[in-house]
């Protein structure tokens, strides 16, 4: 079928899965995951077809697959919305489809499908295990199935729909819609186990923090629309006159000397700061680890946070509008500063975290900083490249960590030991117990660290460093290199503590490998983590450069109006990446292979001293925000608004009005109604009575008196009539 029709159909399966599961199949776990995984598979299939067609089209950037319709009539013009497949979309679609499918499949095993129902399991809390009696009469506690199994698939189905919508959009409206759907789903999924207090707090935190970013982004969208009258990407970003106009017009109100393009770009970037957890809105992402691991993988590795970076990559032409001769625009400078700082900042925090998922969370923040810094210095293709490779290996790492946690939980249930299955200090020696998980995690970890040549991460990271050095952004280069060193270090720390050495707890000893529904996705993603880098080998790379053409650069570079020129090869960045990667890995292994028992103090502690505690507490940013923002907001709401304004002022006014009205009413009653109105009525009666009383004595019963009265009246009247009738004639 025509590609234009097919791209619309990509959106349908996940949305349909959501509705079907919610409305019909929510009682049956099997049906729900069949619908869910089936939908992910169908969308994956369609995406692969579209991808194939996209890569086989010459000059896709100039005539992309597009399908749009006029949606909102505004006066004479229409706001049109629709879908677009240009090179950037195509590669993004590729990784989105794969990772979503892998995560859906993984969720089946993660939520223990096929296991019995738990003894004390309640919806809203993670499953606690079921007691089973085996053939010998021994009772074992085994993992139990998640009580809210079907709900999970419904939510990730909606989530997948949001991501597909965002990626496929050709305009900011539907992009924002997808953005918000994912915001909603992340709220729902982080707080999936809503029975836990920490999960509830985390879900609200995530939503509110990203909301702050979204607010600015919406301002940017509004400004862009009011300026250009359109929100379609092709009309704004692939249109040199529009870009020139945006770059040359000063921003409204002469805001900080920015051009319109600059202000819009920065406003849109704020959305990314929120969504992709950059400094200072990074605080939600570590807490978001409260959600189940597939959620962490999906939201915080493969899709949602990548959406933020995808959006700024998409808007690179706007951000770089007005760029002359390699001088960065203001917007780009902001990006590079924020990105580089975040990369280093998050990497330092990751050094001191013991929870296996937290390390990965900070690692994600750090890597996203990398991408944004890359974009900030103008390395368009490198940023996109790193986005894609990162999605694969970070999803792999998260799913791997989920597998580890699962294995540990099995051990915990088996031994009855009450240890935290997520704390790396309680692990150790898992390479023997969980081999597939170990090897895939190792591949992912090496990719993250940038292990040379065979991992995708190396190629993408190296390209960023090369770009930074090649265009003379030495500070960014230095910061990113340092961050890379730390990345390698803490990754190896993580691998050493988790898999190498000997088990440090009984639970670790009894850990077990996870079922195929979990290990298969790990394996597939591991393949990508290795292979994905080879599509972007620079041409002049010593040795293997030129063997495989730099297809990625060619293809993705076609998205822009002007094809970006690949940076010249230089030895220094290459050497730097090799040194930091290998050096970091070696250092991590050496330092942490010394940790033998649970009580062993972290070797970094004596080195860093008090600074280690600062790192462990994430530079106390949560406490800072609590003090600066949250307490005042709560005060405003509880005291100012609720107590003072609402209860005192407004209620006071109401009560005052009521009291006043009561007074007026009573006064009216007492002084007017009763005496005058009532009184009048009474008086009429009374006066009639009095008159009667007065007139009564006339009736004496004595005839002579009657006669006198009658005659006097006759005399009077006759005199009167005589006078009137006779005399006045």
């Amino acid at each position: 079928m025509a590609t234009e029709t097919l791209i619309w159909l990509l959106l349908v399966p996940p949305l349909l899965a959501f509705f079907l599961i919610v409305l019909f199949t929510n009682r049956s776990n099997r049906l729900s995951h069949i619908v869910g995984v089936g939908a992910a598979f169908l969308s994956w299939l369609g995406s692969m077809v579209v991808f194939y067609r996209a890569v086989t089209t010459e000059h896709l950037g100039e005539h992309p697959f597009a399908s749009s319709f006029n949606w909102l009539a505004t006066g004479d013009t229409y706001l049109s919305i629709g879908l677009l497949i240009d090179p950037l979309t195509a590669v993004t679609l590729f990784f989105v489809a794969w990772t979503i499918l892998m995560i859906f499949l993984y969720s089946v095993g993660y939520h223990n499908f096929g296991q019995p129902k738990g003894d004390h399991d309640r919806p809203g809390l993670p499953p606690h295990g079921a007691t089973m009696i085996d053939a010998h009469g021994h009772s074992h506690t085994v993992p139990s199935i998640e009580p809210m199994y079907a709900r999970f698939f419904a939510f990730i189905g909606l989530f997948a729909f949001g991501m597909y919508l965002l990626v496929l959009s050709d305009n900011l409206v539907t992009l924002f819609v997808g953005w918000e759907i994912m915001g909603l789903c992340s709220y729902l999924l982080i707080g999936f186990w809503y029975g836990k207090e920490s999960a509830r707090a985390a879900m609200v935190k995530a939503f509110l923090t990203t909301r702050i970013g979204d607010m600015f982004m919406l301002l940017g969208i509004a400004y862009l629309y009011s300026f250009t009258g359109t929100l379609s990407f092709r009309d704004i970003l692939y249109n040199q006159e529009m870009l020139n106009l945006l770059a040359s017009t000063p921003a409204v109100g002469g805001f900080l000397g920015l051009s319109a393009a600059g202000l819009i770009g920065i406003l849109l970037f704020f959305g990314t700061v929120g969504k992709s957890a950059q400094f200072p809105l990074h605080v939600w992402l570590p807490d978001a680890m409260e959600g189940p691991t597939p959620v962490s993988a999906m939201i915080h590795a493969a899709t949602m946070v990548s959406a933020g970076v995808y959006m700024v990559i998409r808007f690179f032409p706007l951000l770089s509008a007005g760029m002359e001769h390699g001088h960065l625009t203001t917007a780009m400078t902001v990006l590079s500063v924020v990105g580089a700082f975040t990369a280093l900042f998050a990497a330092t925090i990751a050094l001191a975290q013991n929870d296996i998922k937290r390390v990965l969370a900070y690692s994600t923040i750090s890597q996203l900083g990398y991408m944004i810094a890359a974009l900030g210095i103008g390395a368009y293709v490198a940023a996109a490249f790193h986005l894609i490779t990162h999605a694969f290996f970070k999803a792999l790492l998260f799913l791997g960590s989920g597998s580890v946690i699962h294995g540990m939980e099995h051990g915990v249930l088996h031994t009855g030991e009450h240890v935290d299955p997520q704390d790396m200090y309680n692990m150790g020696g898992l390479r023997k117990k969980m081999p597939i998980t170990f090897w895939t995690f190792l591949i992912g970890g090496f990719a993250l660290s940038g292990f040379p040549l065979v991992t995708a991460g190396f190629w993408s990271k190296d390209e960023i460093l090369a770009d930074a050095w090649g265009h003379g952004h030495y500070i960014v280069f230095g910061v990113l290199a340092l961050a890379a060193l730390l990345t390698a270090f803490y990754t190896m720390r993580q691998i050493t503590l988790t898999f190498l050495g000997e088990p440090r707890t009984k639970a670790a000893e009894h850990a077990q490998e996870t079922p195929w529904t979990m290990t298969l996705p790990l394996s597939i993603l591991a393949v990508f983590a290795v292979v994905a880098g080879w599509v972007g080998i620079p041409e002049h790379f010593p040795g293997i450069g030129g063997l495989i053409p730099n297809w990625f650069n060619e293809f993705v570079g076609g998205t822009l109006l002007e094809h970006p020129v690949a940076v010249d090869f230089n030895f220094i960045p290459l050497l730097t990446s090799l040194v930091v990667a290998l050096g970091g890995l070696w250092a991590g292994w050496t330092v942490y292979s010394r940790v033998k028992t649970v009580e062993t103090v972290d070797p970094l502690k004596p080195v860093l001293g008090g600074f280690h505690t600062v790192l462990k507490n994430k530079y106390y940013f949560d406490e800072l925000y609590e003090k600066i923002f949250i307490r005042p907001a709560q005060w405003l709401s509880a005291t100012f608004a609720s107590l003072w304004m609402d209860r005192t002022v407004i209620d006071g006014i109401l009560h005052g009005v009521a009291a006043f009205t009561l007074q007026v009413g009573s006064a009216l009653l007492r002084y007017f109604d009763t005496p005058v109105v009532n009184g009048f009525g009474n008086q009429v009666g009374e006066s009639a009575k009095k008159l009667g009383h007065l007139l009564r004595p006339i009736q004496t019963g004595r005839i002579q008196q009657y006669m006198i009265l009658a005659l006097v009246s006759v005399a009077t009247f006759s005199a009167l009539f005589y006078y009137l009738l006779v005399y006045t004639r």
Partner: protein
């Protein structure tokens, strides 16, 4: 010659005298006597008018005769009433016969 006016004035005076008696006397029978005076004065009036104004037709006298009859009837009934009242209430003072007061 006696002018008509003398008779008329005389009759008026007698009438007023009778009226005074009706209005001012205590005893009911005295009231009746006043009424008789008034009736007689009327009769005098009638006959005077007959004689001076229409002496050829006898209507005036006929009227007077009928007044006689009426007066007689009235006196009879009235006195019967008073006697009956006297029997009942032992009084004929008009002021004391006041049961129809308020």
């Amino acid at each position: 010659m006696i002018p008509l006016s003398w008779y008329l004035i005389f009759a008026a005076a007698l009438f007023c005298t009778g009226l005074f008696g009706v209005l001012a006397r205590k005893n009911s029978i005295a009231i009746l006597m006043g009424i008789e005076l008034m009736l007689n004065s009327v009769n005098v009036n009638l006959v005077a008018f007959w004689r001076y104004r229409t002496p050829e037709t006898i209507t005036g006298q006929v009227f007077a005769i009928i007044v006689f009859a009426v007066a007689a009837a009235e006196v009879a009934v009235g006195l019967a009433l008073f006697i009956s009242i006297y029997r009942r209430r032992n009084t004929v003072v008009a002021d004391e016969i006041n049961l129809l007061k308020w």
